[in-house]
Symmetry: none
Subunit: 183 residues, 4 copies
DNA sequence: TATGAATGAGCATTCATTCAT
DNA sequence: AATGAATGAATGCTCATTCAT
């Protein structure tokens, strides 16, 4: 039974693929895996995407877009913004399987020689700058940039660790508070 | 008959494979890659190892063994021990391609569902405990365990970041000093 | 509804397909190629033709029809008729890409086992007979049929060679004159 | 039951492939066709050849080599050489299915845009030069080069015609004699 | 008529692994 | 102990053709 509105199918593929990535990561995912998950035909997927990579990159930019929108909508006081940011990260590292953490790392590793490293460096800078701006507005005792970098890198450490071992919720909570105290 | 003792050949394989892993990571390495690097026959490698994974895991335990030996030999004052530890890590994140960082992560990701997560959790605990013991001996203002966890996770963040982007040496240096100050 | 009459669309398809065949030959042409060239829908072409082959065969018979009409209209003296025939062939072999020579051969090869060989044999006979009739009227020193066959086969050789290598204009001219002299 | 001397298998593949080419031409032959004809495994063929094209080109150069050797061994009087050449061609056009004529043309067509046309032009020149040298030694009334070109092109016409229609043996014989007379 | 999404058979190619030698 | 020829499952991808709309 073919036919259904094209964009719906595209979204369905992305949704199913997202599940696959959450389960299998990125490296181990083949076109066939996604095709099977979608229950469509071999050739069908190529009408929408030309490779696993393209699907993943589409998911990535969608996610990025969503995050940007969420970020823009917050207009709270800096400490709350910071705290909410940390809570969001906490949630993610405590249930990594519901997120695409593994897949994201595997993707980043797999493209590490192709994609200009500057892109990632730029992303890092954007993230720390935004965070530093928030910290700047708070009552801080250290250089906001240093603190921002520390927070971002620490969270990166949490994220990557969450993949290979279970993280203790209390520990994460205490670390997050510690981060708040030492800005 | 190029090898008198088969153990020599085994070591040669491990040595060459290690180079391959440093260059290509783990996920992208095929048996064929290692065979080519070793200049041995297709079937020959199976007399020593039954898979890429086994080779990598052998290298891992060798490395672990070495680290344990080095760790035991240090008998300095705690601040120096801490500082040297941080400097070693700094070196590694500044030249990740000479180390097996990428390969290690890729390996950990690929086995994340098979290997008991407790193993990694145990490793983390061992690392933080050892570090906490060192911090305990220093003049500290925070809970040594919290500080140790923070340090280990932050360094994990640095390591993983070093793979996908170039890290600024000054930044790393300043962060390391910051870690020392806030124990 | 861009086409009032479906026959207009049919002709358009034939015209565009003809361009495709001149450019890519026959073997390498896919339905998709023709569809793209026509700017029509995937399924649309099947309302007019059921395969690439049918399109090509339609073009072939159209061409044959045209040639027949041109042939009938000539009523010159035999030597001129012969000379004009040779000149037409010369032109074609000197710019094979503007004609369907490649496509024609590729088509003939691809159907060689299906199409009764007698059809081609009949075509050959028709061509040589017509030519022989012309030669008969000239001042000839050889059997007109032999000469006619020689001419047709030689031109066939020229045509096929023109596909895979550039032909020297002078050479072709001299050969054509040589053919005229030895009838 | 694997194992057999490698070069034997290579030869077997070439032999079987040659049959396939004689039956199906070149354009329609897939790796799978050859694999099936050889009765070997899917991956097996890639140990010897990396594409259908490579197999065909190998067969071509083998054939060329053979022809060269046969050519060198003849040391007869020019008229006999010429006659034998024509007889060989006659044989080939009278049983084209036992030869690779179709496959050769399809191959030449398929590579016509890649392979420098000069290569084919050079081949043509070599062939006509050699023939012209033979004619030069005979009692001739025309320019040997013109005659040589005529013969080569005429035979090319015969060859290509032999693919799509049955040639009459008497006709070919008479044409060959005619060629001999008019040098 | 016309569309184009969907299908599935078909082809090329790679690679871990086996096993006769 | 060592070799490397052979295997076959797995993957990516293309394309003619169908059919609901």
């Amino acid at each position: 039974m073919p036919y259904k509105k094209s964009s719906e199918k595209r979204e369905m593929i992305l949704r199913k693929a997202s599940e696959v990535f959450r389960t299998k990561g990125y490296a181990a995912v083949s076109m066939t895996d996604i095709i099977d998950a979608c229950g469509i035909s071999k050739g069908g997927i190529y009408l929408y995407f030309k490779s696993v990579r393209e699907i993943f990159e589409t998911l990535l930019s969608m996610q990025e877009q969503e995050e940007k929108e969420t970020a823009d909508s917050t207009a709270e006081d800096p400490l709350t913004v910071l705290w909410m940011y940390l809570q969001t990260q906490k949630e993610e590292v405590l249930s990594p399987k519901e997120h695409m953490v593994v897949a994201l790392y595997e993707y980043l590793f797999s493209v590490r020689n192709e994609i200009g490293e500057e892109i990632m460096a730029q992303r890092f800078k954007t993230a720390t700058d935004r965070l530093a701006a928030v910290i700047e507005e708070c009552d801080h005792k250290h250089d906001p940039v240093i603190s921002a970098q520390k927070i971002v890198l620490f969270i990166e450490g949490l994220r990557v660790s969450s993949i290979v071992m279970p993280l203790d919720e209390d520990m994460v909570e205490r670390q997050m508070r510690n981060l708040m105290e030492e800005i």
